[in-house]
Amino acid sequence: GQQVMQIPQYQHVQEGEDFTTYCNSSTTLSNIQWYKQRPGGHPVFLIQLVKSGEVKKQKRLTFQFGEAKKNSSLHITATQTTDVGTYFCAGRWMDSSYKLIFGSGTRLLVRP
């Protein structure tokens, strides 16, 4: 079935270091959404990317959608302990208007 691969599974960084998580799909995506889940919490929507090559920023977070709309990345500059959590991408395929498939998530741990 259709899958969204997300890497790495875990990332342990020192506070102040940068962090990047990547999402890949074998087929073209209609759009991609990103969510953050704090430990013990629920997923919270961060952003949606729709256009090929789109780049969006939210303070220290930078989201990119690949030119071919098959991959996406989330980059955090100068991580803080408040960034701890699991980051999920979720993609929708061109032929599926309803279904949003979540990636396996990247768990970020930040050492103070």
Partner: protein, 112 residues
């Protein structure tokens, strides 16, 4: 003013029992969902209703039956609970089937 509220928050029950989880949203959204998150944090869609109509029904055992009495409510009934049903179940809603999901705080189900 919780946007998506689900009850109970915790549910511990014996194998073979039948249980229900309730979900309500006060966002005026048209679409509601049930997701299952296992111990490895994978988020899998189970069901989705749009204006009380079932639009997504993933490969889920028949023991799971969703019910949407109105747009603001989506309940999940589970018959003959099994050990493998232990997980966190998230309710979510979105304005449209294509929109971003707003998640409830989750129900941690433990089957013993």
């Amino acid at each position: 003013d919780t946007a998506v509220s689900q009850t109970p928050k915790y549910l511990v029950t014996q194998m073979g029992n039948d249980k229900s989880i309730k979900c309500e949203q006060n966002l005026g959204h048209d679409t509601m969902y049930w997701y299952k998150q296992d111990s490895k944090k994978f988020l899998k869609i189970m069901f989705s209703y749009n204006n009380k109509e079932l639009i997504i029904n993933e490969t889920v055992p028949n023991r799971f039956s969703p019910k949407s009495p109105d747009k603001a409510h989506l309940n999940l009934h589970i018959n003959s609970l099994e050990l493998g049903d232990s997980a966190v179940y998230f309710c979510a809603s979105s304005q449209t089937p294509q929109g971003s999901r707003t998640f409830g705080s989750g129900t941690r189900l433990t089957v013993v």
